[in-house]
Amino acid sequence: MALAVTDTCLHCGSALENSRDGYCCIGCRFVAKLLREEGLEKYYSLRGPTGEAVTTTDNRDRKWLEPLEEHVREADGIARVDLDVQGLSCAACVWLIEQLFRREEGAFRVVVNPALGTMTMSVAALFNLRRFVERIESCGYLLGPTRKTEKSDRGLLLRMGLCIAFAMNGMVVAVALYAGAETSALGPFFRAMTFAFSCMSVLVGGSWFFRSAFHALRRGVLHLDLPIALGIALAFTSSAWAYLDHDALGYFDPLNVFIALMLVGRYLQQRVLEQNRRRLLADDGVEALLSRRLENGRPALIRCSQIERGDRLLLAPGDVVPVECTLDAPATFSLDWINGESAPRAFHDAVPAGAFLAGDETRTLTARQSFADSALIDLLRTPARSGDDVSTFWQRFAQLWTVGVLLLAAGAFFVGMRVSDPRAALDRVTAVLIVTCPCAFGIAAPLAYQIVQARLRKAGLFVRTTSFLDRAADLRRIVFDKTGTLTTGRLVAVADFDSLSEDARVALVNLANRSMHPKSAAIARAVGQKGFDESLVVAEHVGQGISLHYKGRHYALDKRGFTADHQLLLPIETIEDLRADAAREVQALRDAGYEVGILSGDAEARVATVAAAVGIREFRGDQSPSDKAAYIHAVDRNDTLVVGDGINDGPAIATAFCSGTPAVDRPFIAARSDFYLVSAGLAPIRLALEAARRLARVLRISLGVALAYNAVTIALAYTGVMTPLLCAVLMPASSLSSIVAVIASLHGESWHRVKALEPWTSSTSRSS
């Protein structure tokens, strides 16, 4: 049978660790079934062999939909609805969403933009927006109200295109000049044209680097754009002076090529990071939280920031408690988000902010504080990491390069004055400024980053910050959160379900499938839905369990397990569901020399159980968010990576040198981390660390080659041998050789060693 022989997930194509049914996770199995039932298998042929695991959670809060539904209902004719989409990766995603849209009544037009992660729909009033959103989200995408800012690299793309055109057209004219037209009647005209192209190139492309360098200087940061901007400004000024003073050809042609190449490098560098950032729903922090307040006895949707002490709040199952509240009746809540506890608890009087209602009934609560005093505020206001950060290495490099180039230019002027006249000395200065333009690393380094980021993206790890790959090469310690990070956040029911009679099994199916309690959900996943009867009534006893009368017997699910007429019928144990590759990855990270630990808010005993299961010796339980941050602050010597998923990890993530998260169902933590994962397992983390070290080596080689090239060309410039023609040949040649060296290094033999770690290849098991 096909399922027995496959070693990759039938939906996402990732490597299978413990193949139960050919799928890597529940999400993938569900989506594959849905696509089959809907007749949308063409998705797989459009997408190709590998995709992304469906790791997003169900039961999402969709209160944000209510104003949009009202907008559609009240529309006079066609209504336009803009939504943000998380999880779009390729043309197949676009096709799938368009197909599902067309199947809805009242659907007119949809434009899905995978680059921006947005969707614009034109629909009639009868369009069922909620059902459509639920169907799309059941395929593994997440939808939200449009909040993404219009910060786009469109301007950079336009500048790059224009500057490439200027460089190529300028080159056509320059070739004619180098071939002998310089002394013909057309010579002055052609020189004027190269000057004009260069002016436009500096105006359109150079201004990008001038602005960037200026902003960086104002912030007190020495950005790599500073030597680039300086090189452009000085080379253009000296060439323009030479042209205007004595109608010399100048270095306009190499300068135009240089600006075009620098813009290509910058575009490559920004493109993947921008796409990775846009792929997530926007994070609005506290403003994104909505709640229902009872006003004159009727529920009204409000922003949580509007909640005042004494307000009556209505919570549906799965809703978050926005402020500390008093309960009208006992209820079960999950504290996973705020302290990492894996199992929900019963609360009788008061419940803290950040808890999620875990039962299956709505509850009324009274706010004991206004939202301004809520404990959630501090956790949600953790500052987001800037995506435009610059690593210490590149800052230091830019500093040395700038000073070095200025000293060399001064030296060239001094040498020129000693052996010749001021005009010849200036020509040598121009030549030095042109040949020392940081061409090789301006294009080769961004290309190297782009290749690594794209490869990691394919593995399911999305880098968000510019300097992460630089910092990751220095990491020595990795600290994991437990619930939702080393584990999937779900529980697994362990019991001999086959020993039950048919009636008892049906009773258990009906009990387990009617509760949102994580333990019930674990049992429901184990027993399935066969025998589910909508007419049966289940009673919930907070803190005690749930019960049901079926065929004259009283069945219940409680702490002991499954009972019939108060007699224990089947003891059921629930254990935390470890990520399939967690133990193997922890071992591999330790073998690679990393210290691995666990920092969790859950009870010490539970943490110890998971630590033992994955082979981690260093662990701490019962840690509050501030405890976690204090611990990271104490141990981090710019060598620690924190991987967590809840807002209780926010302070630790903000403190740590590097951070990552597997939680993409809520954008809060992902927006504050250096990277986020969309894979079912943790293997991409190891891939990223290996890739970062590899990248550091490649960059060192690339910089070495650039320095050697510069040493030769500077010697030529000092001796006065450098000409515009020689420069026009050497500069693109050095850039091309750097690019080829980078590509060869990242795709060479040693990169294959890294590639063998990739979770989607069959060699994964061998690598560990």
């Binding site: 933009n113 995978p114 680059a115 469109r154 336009l158 224009l162 055109a165």
Partner: protein
């Protein structure tokens, strides 16, 4: 010799024309959803 000036003039017109079209395409954000546009020709289920 005069024909060269004419050729250069026509070439520059072509360059300017292509740059205007490129700018128009960028402003229309076609590059942002090239995935969708690439699928339009094989769209047989409308």
């Amino acid at each position: 010799m005069d024909v060269i000036y004419l050729q250069i003039f026509v070439s520059l017109l072509l360059v300017v024309g292509s740059l205007v079209m490129f700018a128009f395409s960028t402003r229309q954000r076609e590059v942002d959803h090239a995935d969708r546009l690439s699928l339009l020709p094989m769209d047989d289920e409308k």
